[in-house]
């Protein structure tokens, strides 16, 4: 979008196109240099690492430059369950976050529109979790639902959990934690869309024989779609790579590991850098493919 705006700006100002483009270049340069240094360099380094071969000396953690494409096949073969799990968890957590966030965003953006104090208060509540590190918050949940905690004992006593079943370590706990951590990223973009919603269009829907529910699906929801798309992207992408919630140090267990956990383990514990890098590159590629298909399908290319 920024590029579109820039393009229109220089097109409209045709009397001094050279000057305008030079100004644009100067303004863009710091960002470009920053991206070049801190995004492109590590990326290239990552790809190079992912193709390295085991060291000639056989020392652990030492690798030689090479072009070993089989690293990818190995990583895929070894960690397919974790890769699949990552995307399933991310999908479920994104949908959960959407279901929880939409009504909140609708209330703040539409219903509380004429009550600025209430609106500001509710928005603060949405952002409030950011005031505390998400590591601490996730750890707090681990404490609340730890195996000996009153909450877990209560769930066991009413039969929701079997006596030998626990909350922490389950897929449920990981997905709930992921959902919880990313709700603000879903709520805020949807709020921004709904806040701009022209309520006269909702009146027009009612005037044209649509019930409130029909008006919601035919008018309100389609018009909030840009917010829904950016919200789902802002949650799905980081959730796919998240390694905190699923970690055994936090809410996860032995069979909840996601790609992030595998990458972490390969880098820091096994010191298998090529496999970890190959997994990272594949995660990135998979997200790029999934996101472009999603955005294309939802007909909101202008977001990219």
């Amino acid at each position: 979008m920024a590029f579109v705006a820039l393009g229109q700006g220089s097109a409209g100002n045709s009397s001094a196109p050279k000057k305008a483009s030079r100004v644009a270049f100067i303004l863009l340069a710091p960002g470009m240099i920053y991206l070049g240094l801190f995004f492109l360099t590590p990326l290239v380094s990552l790809v190079i690492t992912s193709l390295k071969t085991a060291s000639f000396t056989g020392e652990i953690g030492m690798y030689d430059y090479g072009f070993q494409v089989s690293n990818y096949a190995y990583a895929l073969d070894q960690y397919l369950p974790q890769i699949t799990r990552s995307f399933i968890y991310a999908l479920i957590a994104t949908l959960m976050a959407l279901l929880i966030s939409y009504p909140i965003a609708y209330f703040i953006g539409v219903k509380a529109r004429n009550k600025p104090i209430l609106q500001a208060f509710l928005l603060t509540l949405v952002i409030a979790p950011f005031f505390i590190s998400f590591l601490l918050r996730t750890f707090a949940w681990k404490q609340i639902f730890s195996n000996e905690s009153p909450a877990t004992q209560f769930l066991q006593s009413i039969g929701v959990l079997a006596p030998d079943q626990y909350v922490i370590g389950s897929s449920f706990a990981v997905i709930a934690g992921l959902t919880y951590n990313f709700i603000p990223f879903m709520t805020l973009p949807i709020y921004t869309s709904l806040e701009r919603l022209d309520t006269r269009l909702v009146e027009a829907g009612a005037d044209l024989y649509a019930t409130p529910v029909q008006t919601f699906w035919k008018v309100t929801f389609p018009l909030s779609l840009p917010g829904v798309i950016s919200g789902t992207l802002l949650t799905f992408i980081p959730i796919s790579g998240d390694y905190v919630s699923a970690s055994r140090d936090f809410l996860g267990g032995s069979d909840t590991a996601m790609i992030g956990n595998v990458v972490e383990a390969n880098f820091f514990r096994i010191q298998d850098y090529p496999t970890a890098s190959a997994l990272s590159v594949m995660l990135m590629a998979a997200i790029v493919v999934l996101v472009s298909v999603y955005v294309r399908k939802s007909g909101t290319e202008e977001l990219l």
């Binding site: 022209d198 006269r200 269009l201 009146e203 027009a204 829907g205 009612a206 005037d207 044209l208 024989y209 649509a210 019930t211 029909q214 035919k218 008018v219 389609p222 018009l223």
Partner: protein
């Protein structure tokens, strides 16, 4: 039932409508009956309650008290989507994510009318926009959007079509063109139109009946000609066209006329055109009914004559010249003279006499407020 497809317009009846907003009363005990098939204009300044009235009819606003009947059926408790009413909104309120055609077909689809796209295309033909059917609303000009909004409402053949200042955003030329088209369409489809506007020319030009609304109440209602010819209150006299209004005590009353004395000069009005016959009375005359003379003319008792006064302003408006004449004791009198080639040769500062026929004068039921004077 809203799903009923009515071929003809139905009548609208408002009974004792009262609307309170926190802090003020928008509508006070409004009674109104609009016969089926009529083009009815609700005319008034902004904030007079006319748009609130329209929203109450559409069901978008709930009346504090009172009943809304459409075609004899009480719809007071009905939700907007259940009412056989469609609105052309001031902002058009076209759905930006749908094509023009889908916008027009929206109401038809909701009511599961067969072949909605063909009917929507027909409606677009009526407003001469079928060639833009697949565009998005924001790709259209203001006038085109207005016509889409009209087609979107008309295609449903509502018992009652509500128009909320839909021409307000258009420029003068387009507005005149749309007025003609709207009127033609109304005659063609035979629907009942309730048109809310603050443009008095628009109301008089299009409506069969005009109701002038002020401060939440209808001051006067009738055919445009009747309303213009004989306004009954100072507000109507000044809001619907311009008026010269003179206030004085009644000094003579006979079978045909009443006369007031205004700074020693007498002004008469026919008795049957006067609301009040005694005490302090306001008489008025339209600026185009008055003429002025360079010398004091010799006129019979069928004329009112005041003067002499000084011409303090001359405005050329194309079809006529507007003269503002300051007559001591009367205030400023406005006189319109048609530009037909023999307009009196006068210039700023000239001293003239103003006269008009007694039969053109009208007597008001109330006295003009200071604020009304400033408006004129």
């Amino acid at each position: 039932m809203a799903t009923e497809f009515v071929a003809r317009g139905q009548d609208l009846e408002l009974v004792g409508i009262h609307k309170e907003f926190p802090g003020f009363t928008a509508i006070e005990n409004l009674d109104l009956k609009i016969p089926a098939g009529e083009f009815f204009a609700l005319l008034g300044p902004s904030g007079c309650g006319k748009t609130t009235t329209l929203r109450i009819v559409a069901g978008l606003e709930e009346a504090t008290r009172g009943k809304v009947l459409i075609g004899g059926k009480d719809v007071t408790a009905s939700k907007p989507h259940e009412r056989p009413v469609n609105t052309v909104f001031q902002s058009y309120a076209l759905f930006p994510h749908m094509s023009v055609l889908e916008n027009v077909a929206f109401g038809l689809r909701q009511r599961k009318v067969s072949d909605p796209l063909a009917k929507a295309t027909e409606a677009l033909q009526l407003v001469e926009l079928e060639h833009l059917a697949l565009r998005k609303p924001q790709q259209l000009s203001g006038g085109q959007q207005q016509r889409v909004a009209l087609a979107r409402a008309l295609v449903n053949r509502p018992a009652l079509l509500l128009l909320d200042e839909p021409l307000g955003a258009l420029d003068l030329k387009l507005r005149r063109q749309m007025q003609v088209e709207l009127k033609a369409i109304q005659m063609e489809v035979g629907l009942t139109f309730l048109h809310v506007t603050h443009d008095q020319e628009e109301a008089m030009d299009m409506a069969d009946t005009v109701a002038v609304m002020n401060k939440g109440e209808i001051e006067q209602m009738g055919a445009p000609e009747a309303l213009y010819d004989r306004p009954k209150t100072a507000f109507v006299a000044r809001f619907l066209g311009q008026s010269n209004i003179f206030v004085g005590d009644v000094v003579e009353e006979n079978d045909h006329s009443i006369s007031i004395s205004c700074n020693g000069q007498r002004i008469a009005a026919p008795k049957k055109r006067s609301e009040k016959h005694s005490g302090k009375v306001a008489l008025g005359v339209r600026p185009e009914k008055a003429t002025f003379h360079a010398d004091k003319p010799d006129l019979d008792s069928n004329h009112n004559l005041v003067g002499p006064g000084e011409i303090i302003d001359i405005r050329f408006t194309g079809v006529s010249n507007q003269y503002l004449i300051d007559v001591p004791g009367f205030g400023d009198i406005t006189v319109f003279a048609q530009n037909v080639g023999k307009s009196p040769v006068v210039e700023l500062g000239a001293h003239v006499w103003v006269s008009w026929k007694v039969e053109h004068a009208f007597g008001l039921s109330d006295l003009p407020l200071k604020a009304d004077n400033d408006e004129a």
